[in-house]
Symmetry: C2
């Protein structure tokens, strides 16, 4: 099955916003085994839209349109599709009533223009929009399926999530699973998977590099549901065996979210002493709802003065080894432990550039400190600019913490 | 002048990455007065690319291609354009030599496949790639200009910045200026501009909402350079008068960058005591190169315990008014001043949700403290989810700090 995605709107053509809808839909279609052969963006212009439909209907089985369903005169996506198909448009009275009620509840009367948003093309199937106003719909003509989705990303993504598989109605049962892996680069993950030789006609595996983790996506496809479920299960088991501690999530979650969940689950607290990351580690944790259970205090100790004052780092250490050194990272984490008594005390120090002061740009040290006998030092050499170095530090440190928690490293010796 | 942008690559069609190139180029073309009538993405497939060129050459004066210039067999953008134009491809010997030298310097011989990247289409103008390997080029046939750019965003954006105006060679002189405005929403800015009634056939003004600031973009266009420069100057002067303290930059810079620059310029230091923002303010400052001149220590005081321990906030204040209160925000900033003696001490406290503990979600207090007699309290009520509330807090606080610095509020009374 071949698909074309048509997004409609001036704001895309003048480069005012990124086309997140095309990306979102392409990724979902790919998961469902549909080949996206073209993405195209045109203006709210009937001639352009009809022309595009004419071209694409010759090479695609599925044409998905998004945008141009607003109440203004500019918005003519539905009208253009109707014209191309040679069909009429009618008002969906049920939806009109719902909309009128919504307006009257706020003491307003419905503006006349809004009626457009509850119209449908003759012979189409309605796609109710529970996240906004404009109705979606789909219609089949000459073996080509035409789909209309509203443009605002929140509405669009919800409509795609709720209706796409219904529209595609493949005879195949498709199951998509993701496993998220830390501590191994994409190419290593890829290599290991290829060696396992577990793909077959029904199960395919792809890897995707994200910031700080690699996603393994397993797609199973067959007209026999029991068979495809079983196949996926076998593949998952093999992957879990192969990647053991490296798999941190099967829900496509951010590392920080999983980390906060694990900290809560194990009743652990965390604190940071950040030099190179300057608050990024603390903010990635406090980004997560519920983080107040695991973090109380955290410090940005950017200057040497601050490292001494807040964390009791020795002047001699800074002078002899430099602020960017494993010794300083260790003393920062140790001082943090004394100050906060958090279960996990984490320090970072490094050169983010652009102008190095003592070590080469990209040199980073971190220390994850549980107690005097148990701490983990890391020395990284990152490439890239200031932002990349800082972000890679955050991702590497978070994944290392998670890795250590999964291995129960926080438990005292002898336990 | 009408343009079509063709981006080429599987990773776009499977939804693995966002199409930032189309957005970037569209925005630059729009600035230069070129109308982008279509953006399209196709696979690395010669038939598809040639077919697309055939369609677009009938409706566009300018066709810009990006991607598919790598060394692998998949990459066939240049070959496809040559085929469509009925032209041959040749090796640029000068560039080949440069590339061979680069490889031999690393003790390697040049892989045979890389030769593709230093090839050009017969009769084209070379666009040297100083940011990567693959050459760009442009060629005119039957009044249509065809441009080829490499796909990696860093190379692509640099090539666009350096060569686009040379390629377009309009008779018009185009001048684009941006003014960045804080402390006023986009619709207020828009309204004020319309009232000024300063647009004309040669000068147009648009506004764009960014996170925390509004960009006013002025585009002047005329075949008379002196005239268009003068017109822009007059419009700029009027806008500077109208928006006075609200304009913080004319370089399209992030607020944090401008703030760090201003702090350095005025020899000021800053520190944060962050509750709701949890490290985001510190990290937005430390994101900026040179920030070590202005920030030494900063604190995330998420728990009440931490507010007491690190900032000397009174237990009674927390009990009587709550952690989310103007009293607590004030004491946090005052305690921070005592601890760090930074020139500007900034605190934030609020409810980010999802589950409120004492005040309504979206309630935020901040205090910008210069000294005992001079401090500025703010109470915000933000809508939205956790991330939005936290980001809006950061942007609002940073813009308020900048606004106060621009008004020299940091100076002592009597100065």
């Amino acid at each position: 099955m071949k698909a074309t995605i048509i997004t409609i709107g001036k704001e895309l053509l003048i480069g005012s916003i990124l086309n997140t809808n095309s990306k979102y839909l392409s990724s979902k279609l790919t998961d469902l085994g549909v080949e996206v052969s073209k993405q195209v963006t045109v203006d709210d212009n009937m001639a352009d839209i009809v022309n595009e439909l004419d071209i694409d209907s010759k090479s695609s089985d599925l044409i998905l349109l998004s945008g141009g369903l607003g109440p203004t005169n500019d918005d003519i996506t539905r009208e253009s599709l109707a014209k191309f198909l040679g069909k009429d448009i009618y008002i969906d009275e049920e939806e009109k009533l719902i909309m009128e009620t919504r307006f009257s509840r706020n003491g307003e009367s419905m503006p006349k223009n809004n009626i457009k948003q509850v119209c449908l093309i003759e012979g189409s199937t309605k796609l109710k929009n529970n996240w906004g106003v404009a109705l979606g719909e789909y219609i089949v003509k000459d073996k080509v399926t035409y789909v209309v989705f509203p443009g605002p990303p929140n509405e669009f993504e919800n409509m795609v999530d709720n209706y796409l598989s219904e529209i595609i109605k493949s005879d195949d049962n498709i199951i998509v699973k993701s496993l998220d892996v830390i501590g191994l680069g994409e190419s290593r993950v890829e290599e290991k998977i290829r060696k396992l030789n577990i793909e077959n006609g029904n199960v395919s595996i792809n890897t995707f590099a994200h910031q700080g983790y690699t996603e393994i996506k397993i797609i199973g496809k067959s007209n026999d549901f029991t068979f495809v479920s079983k196949s996926i299960e076998v593949v998952e088991e093999t992957l879990y065996r192969e990647f053991r501690d490296h798999i941190y999530s099967d829900k496509n979650l951010e590392i920080a979210s999983v980390l906060v969940e694990k900290l809560i689950e194990n009743n652990l607290t965390i604190a940071f002493a950040e030099s190179i990351t300057g608050g990024k580690l603390a903010s990635s944790i406090t980004d997560v709802p519920g983080s107040s259970n695991v973090i109380g205090s955290s410090y940005v100790t950017y200057s040497n003065e601050s490292k001494k004052m807040n964390l009791n780092v020795n002047r001699e250490t800074l002078e002899k080894y430099g602020a960017v050194s494993d010794k300083t990272a260790y003393e920062m984490a140790k001082g943090l432990k004394e100050k906060t008594n958090a279960d996990i005390c984490v320090s970072t120090t490094g050169e983010a550039g652009p102008n190095p002061s003592e070590k080469e740009v990209g040199t980073v040290f971190s220390c994850i400190y549980f107690n005097d006998k148990k701490y983990f030092m890391k020395h990284y050499d990152f490439n890239g600019g200031r932002n990349k170095i800082r972000n890679r530090t955050v991702n590497s440190v978070l994944s290392q913490i998670l890795f250590l928690i999964n291995r129960k490293e926080y438990q005292n010796e002898g336990k």
